[in-house]
């Protein structure tokens, strides 16, 4: 088999998007369009305090002066921000206190997605703060976490219950005017998750949130804020699926991580939104700002992502290594098939002494996919003995796709050691031949080789995620050979 000929007869995705269905829930949406009144509407709907409304308005005013970034290797059809709906919530039922009170339609949706929300949650050992469109519906394991002093709740709840924590940290890593999409998010963010791990506490379970976009034409603007106090540890999982639709949906999330002295945050994402169909129609626009700050000595932030969905991905989870001896890590697998485009990577900013960072990025392009790694490693003058290792590998399947690598290395301190290496190649015919000669089908052989290619990243994922991610790789690449 040669991949070139295979790709020319590229078959459309056979299985299609497994999670493509729309559940019928009455939405309470804001009228389409965006102005200061929209921002006020959202704040009022959510019963937010004045300071947060002011903060949103400030962001909105900054957003109005900004332009969407155009430097990424992405082709984006012009987005009409006035046509989108900026708020939609499942109909309120006086805040459900238990799962019995939750809209059964909603529960069914989760069931189809296989989210361990009910007793399955206990079995899987996962606490889910499930976000359906915009408003949190149910939160589990809260009590167990509360006993340890861990706060894990929806963003809205955090604003009500722990305003001092939210105020202290909100926007300190990603300021309102950081970039176009972050400013948009800051103005209209709907809900999201908040986690606070107190000093010295090791969170006993993986925290997880499922994001799901539901109401038609409603962009989702999640805001996540995770604070690990001194010596705390938390592993956070984020996974996404979205129903199949024809129109592009906009998603502009902001995630802020703060690790204080000796704390560690592990943030894992499996992103499986709808990538559009085989002709490139539809799919999610994913413009996300994710950034973590290692505020104290020996803090550690680790990003792991598996990006398989989205028509367009614009995402650069970054680490600001302020504390001495702090560590930043970025492990990424990005797959683009059919007409998907991804421009993703990371920024490692070394500010403190003895700071270390590792970047492992695996890009896989198939069909007409375009996959770009874009990364920055910057070592500031005071970052004595900073160390970075970067490895970016790209795999090409088919001759209509593209793989690009754009690393920026900016060194300002002679004691820094920075290494970057990158390779681009196709799956070798020898490997495929070997597998097929052992009786594997083409697709199985491809899946095996791709999983091997991504192993260094997948092994960083928590167990439950690793299993899902492996399946996802196979599904995402379906139809790219044979």
């Amino acid at each position: 088999m040669t991949d070139t000929t295979a790709a020319r007869n590229l078959a459309p995705l056979r299985e299609g998007y497994k999670y493509g269905f729309v559940s019928d829930i009455e939405s309470e949406s804001a009228p389409p369009g965006l102005n200061e009144d929209t921002v006020r509407f959202i704040a009022a709907k959510k019963g937010e305090p004045q300071w947060l409304l002011d903060w949103r308005l400030e962001a909105f005013r900054k957003w109005q002066t900004m332009e969407s970034p155009h430097w990424a290797k992405l082709r984006i059809a012009p987005i009409d921000y006035q046509a989108a709906t900026y708020y939609s919530a499942p109909k309120r039922q006086n805040a459900p206190k238990s799962l019995d009170e939750v809209d059964p339609e909603l529960l069914k949706t989760y069931e189809k997605l296989g989210i361990p929300l009910n007793e399955r949650a206990a079995l899987a050992g996962v606490a889910v703060d499930a976000v359906f469109d915009s408003v949190s519906v149910a939160t589990t394991f809260k009590r167990t976490l509360a006993e340890l002093g861990i706060v894990f709740c929806s963003f809205g709840e955090a604003v009500r219950e722990h305003p001092e924590l939210v105020r202290k940290y909100l926007g300190t890593v990603v300021p309102q005017g950081d970039n176009f999409y972050a400013a948009l998010n800051s103005a209209v963010f709907s809900d999201g998750s908040f986690a606070y791990i107190p000093s010295g506490v090791r969170c006993p379970m993986e925290l997880s949130t499922y994001f799901r976009i539901n109401a038609a034409k409603s962009g989702q603007f999640e805001r996540t804020l995770i604070v690990a106090d001194k010596g705390a540890y938390v592993s956070y999982l984020e996974g996404c699926t979205a129903p199949q639709r024809d129109e592009n949906q906009l998603h502009a999330a902001v995630v802020e991580l703060i690790a204080l002295e000796g704390a560690e945050i592990k943030y894992s994402t499996v992103q499986n939104w709808y990538p559009g169909d085989a002709e490139g129609k539809g799919g999610i626009y994913n413009f996300v700002t994710k950034r973590g700050a290692c505020r104290g000595a020996r803090a550690k932030i680790s990003w792991t992502q598996v990006e398989t969905g989205s028509a367009i991905t614009w995402k650069y989870p970054s680490c600001i290594l302020e504390g001495d001896d702090s560590v930043g890590e970025f492990y990424s697998v990005a797959i683009t098939n059919n007409f998907q485009q991804a421009d993703t990577g990371t920024k490692m900013l070394h500010l403190g002494r003895n700071t270390r960072s590792t970047i492992i990025s695996k890009g896989i392009s198939a069909g007409r996919g375009q996959n770009t790694y874009r990364g920055l490693v910057r070592v500031q003058p005071k970052a004595e003995n900073a160390r970075n290792y970067t490895q970016c590998d790209s795999l090409l399947i088919g001759d209509k796709c593209g793989a690009h690598t754009v690393p920026y290395i900016e060194a300002r301190n002679p004691t820094a050691r920075i290494e970057h290496e990158a390779t681009t190649s196709k799956i070798s015919d020898d490997q495929m031949f070997y597998c097929q000669q052992r009786g594997l089908s083409k697709e199985d052989a491809l899946s095996l080789i791709v999983n091997g290619f991504c192993k260094e990243v997948l092994k960083e994922l928590p167990m439950e995620f690793a299993v899902e991610a492996q399946k996802l790789l196979a599904v995402s690449l379906e139809g790219s050979v044979g």
Partner: protein, 434 residues
């Protein structure tokens, strides 16, 4: 100064040029080029290709073209003379100086002369090389050069001509606050072969703006060496556009030592199947020097090969930049390309920026790149010191070894390797302040 005021002296200089009889196509192209330059103005840091370049030394004052060649003697050229040169062309302040040049006997079918002489005698050679793209798509410095150039050199070989002896071109800058706008052309017919050593040197705060167009025909081979050893107060921009035909080979070595602000741009297109290029170089920087190597390699045909290896050393408050792009077009299957940028950062106030970039649109390719930044190896330093070598000497030895390692990549030319190594040693002997 406003952006417009900064470029005004050049527009004025263009209008004030003394009337020289020139072919009408050239007059037209010059007019188009100055218009284009006026539209473009100087590049800014917002432009990706210029984000690391600090153009202030250029913008602070103006450098209208020198009116004529300044005084220069044999002794001024001597430090840079290439021992094995069979032909020599010397240009001072952008103008050909016959008294210092010595063009040996050329075989029939070989043309080597100054650009101005070529314009008089063989204008047909230059016409296709000064194509519209220079005027339209080109960046500001190329457009300015197209409008203002007066001289340079032209090498044209007919099919099958092999020049055995090396050709040496020396560009000397002597006139303070003046610019030399050089336009060079190298056209190698099928299966021809040549070795070219270009040296840029001088004294004073002048600006060299050189643009070269290089065409290498089917199966032809060019070894192109550039020794950039401008005065440390001077500004140097060198922009070469190279196109390779089928099975053609181009090997470039750029040793960059001088200039307050120096930038070498290489835009290379592998246009024919099986073409190969090797781009190598070392940049040594101290004091407040800023040195940039910017390469764009465009694989437009199958079975192309690229080997790219650049090293830079930044001491004191210097700033070293490497911008390297390798692009592989969809049709350029079986491309084999690699690119390496290694950098030594020797001082707390020095800076290195490196951006090795791959843009791959074909699948059956083997492409890789790498980059490293770091200080001298502690263990190696300790080893030398433990053998009784003073630390300053040990550092010098290690820097020299770092820089000359890439010179060793030049195959089968011991004279050339020795010539370049000698200049590296000379640069190091002057010392760095740290």
């Amino acid at each position: 100064m406003s952006a417009l005021a900064e470029i005004q002296p050049y527009v004025e200089a263009f209008k004030a040029r003394p009337p020289v009889p020139e072919p009408s196509w050239l007059v037209q192209r010059r007019d188009g080029a100055i218009r284009r330059f006026s539209e473009l103005g100087w590049p800014t840091r917002k432009q990706e290709a210029w984000r690391f370049t600090d153009l202030r030394p250029l913008q602070k004052s103006s450098f209208p073209p020198a009116a004529a060649a300044g005084d220069a003697t044999e002794a001024d050229v001597a430090p840079w003379r290439y021992p094995n040169a069979a032909h020599r062309i010397v240009l001072v302040d952008g103008a050909f100086v016959p008294a210092l040049s010595a063009i040996g006997t050329l075989p029939k079918g070989a043309w080597l002369a100054s650009t101005s002489q070529t314009l008089h005698e063989r204008p047909e050679l230059l016409e296709p090389a000064l194509r519209e793209t220079d005027v339209l798509g080109g960046q500001a410095f190329v457009s300015l050069n197209a409008a203002l150039f007066a001289d340079g050199f032209v090498l044209a070989l007919e099919p099958g001509i092999a020049l055995d002896g090396a050709i040496e071109i020396v560009h000397l800058g002597r006139a303070a606050n003046r610019s030399a706008q050089l336009r060079n052309l190298i056209l190698l017919g099928p299966n021809s072969r040549a070795t070219l050593i270009e040296t840029y040197a001088g004294a004073g705060a002048y600006w060299t703006n050189a643009v070269g167009v290089v065409g290498i025909g089917i199966g032809a081979v060019l070894r192109h060496v550039k020794l950039q050893d401008e005065d440390e107060a001077a500004i140097h921009f060198g922009h070469n556009r190279i196109e390779l035909g089928r099975d053609a080979r181009y090997e470039n070595f750029t040793l960059s030592l001088g200039g307050r602000l120096a930038r070498t741009d290489i835009h290379l297109k592998l246009d024919g199947e099986g073409a190969a290029c090797g781009l190598y170089g070392a940049t040594l920087l101290r004091d407040e020097q800023e040195g940039t190597i910017a390469t764009v390699v465009d694989h437009a045909a199958p079975h192309g090969t690229t080997r790219e290896y650049f090293k830079s050393v930044a001491a004191d408050r210097a700033h070293g930049v490497f911008l390297g792009t390798i692009g592989v077009r969809p049709q350029a299957q079986k491309t084999d390309a690699n690119q390496l940028s290694k950098n030594l950062l020797l001082s707390r106030r020095a800076a290195i920026d490196t951006k090795p970039e791959l843009e791959i649109l074909a699948d059956d390719v083997k492409c890789s790149h790498g980059a490293t930044v770091g200080d001298l190896d502690e263990a190696a330093l300790f080893y030398l010191e433990s053998r009784g070598i003073p630390v300053a000497e040990a550092r010098r030895m290690l820097i020299e070894a770092f820089a000359t390692e890439v010179i060793e990549r030049i195959e089968d030319d011991a004279v050339l390797r020795a010539h370049l190594s000698r200049h590296v040693a000379r640069w190091l002997a002057a010392g760095i302040a740290r």
